[in-house]
Symmetry: C3
Subunit: 159 residues, 3 copies
């Protein structure tokens, strides 16, 4: 019998929503659910390779965009109560008090468990992110490819 | 064999989330997936008919609400990095540089492809939107009707 | 034949999104769809027991967090157009004009209909909420238990 499948579309580029998504992805894989994550729009901010930034072939807007947005997932803001970073500091301190892994740990979990990671082609084009600016494990695919994977999944979430 | 089905509930009234939803709807239809979109709450702001606004039968609050909210989908703000419109300007410029269709184009695609468009009855009542203030292709239905369509779909997303 | 099943993950702690989620839960139950709601992150703010707050066994951050966040669901802000409470006042006035039940009514509906209510274990730990600070009908479960319920459901929504 085939494994059950989960497909998560990560649209948001916020620390708390990213945490929720990546915790679910890791937990699912641990109980033998196959997982695909499709990163679109702000979700691309979760999979930037902090060591490979390129200003080549970027328009002025694309350069501005790349510079104005967080380079590392640990810099992502909260979706609410961010209070210019104070709320987020509070959340990460509370996570540390409870020995909860960081967002980076959960992302590494996703990578190490071999979870399928896809970036939305159109989002990459609009935001000006090149393949080499994303982490290596990510494949760039179209919305149609997302839909084909999602429609055969047992759970689909838009986060 | 019946086509596969997708149901999208659009709750958000933001430019970027609306883009994601309508791109998925168009792409799905292009690969023969039947699509229903249910517009609820802020999602109603995507289907206002800019030429038919009525102040008749509206309470004071309903009039204020209708006037304070965007009349056209191109006026919708971003869900983040809106920066009083500057972030959105940047996004739409980047879309133009890449010859990406506008939100209006994707909405027209949804209409022209005959995708089923439904507005939430309760949301219309609370916000004071009359049938004639919405674009013609929209039918007003209850939450139960949404659920009956969604439960028989292969993908359901809440955006 | 078994009933159809719906699983709603409530991540957001906002009045309008909570309304959408609880209206769908109530409507689904009324047409014999079995419903499970999993409250995670900010979603925990929907199920605080306003009469049982405890400062025992809480760290400084956890106390601050419990005090800075709304104690009652009626105090939750809107996800947009909140305008320091004015937008929300407007929405609740419009709801009243239409004899729409309040968020509290819909939550009571969920409780009275015996809808399964689960709180995310990790979220409770990080935010410092104890079992006794939540309303009685809630069970605390892991992400894996959420996934097992969700994967066997006919609809899954992330709100």
């Amino acid at each position: 019998m085939n494994n059950k499948k989960m497909n998560i579309l990560i649209f948001s580029g916020e620390y708390d929503k990213a945490l929720a998504a990546l915790i679910l992805a890791n937990s699912a894989k641990e109980i033998n659910i196959d997982v695909t994550i499709f990163f679109a729009f702000w979700g691309l901010l979760l999979i930037r390779n902090p060591n490979k930034m390129s200003e080549e072939d970027k328009s002025t807007y694309e350069k501005m965009f790349a510079n104005m947005t967080p380079k590392s997932i640990e810099e992502l803001p909260l979706s609410k109560m961010n209070f210019a970073g104070m709320g987020k500091k509070m959340l990460t301190e509370m996570m540390e008090e409870n020995d909860t892994p960081t967002l980076t740990d959960f992302l590494n979990g996703v990578i190490n468990k071999g979870i399928t990671m896809q970036a939305c082609k159109l989002s990459c084009e609009v935001m000006g992110f090149k393949k080499e600016e994303l982490i290596d494990e990510v494949t760039i695919v179209t919305a149609e490819e997302y839909l084909k994977d999602a429609i055969d999944s047992d759970i689909q979430l838009f986060i």
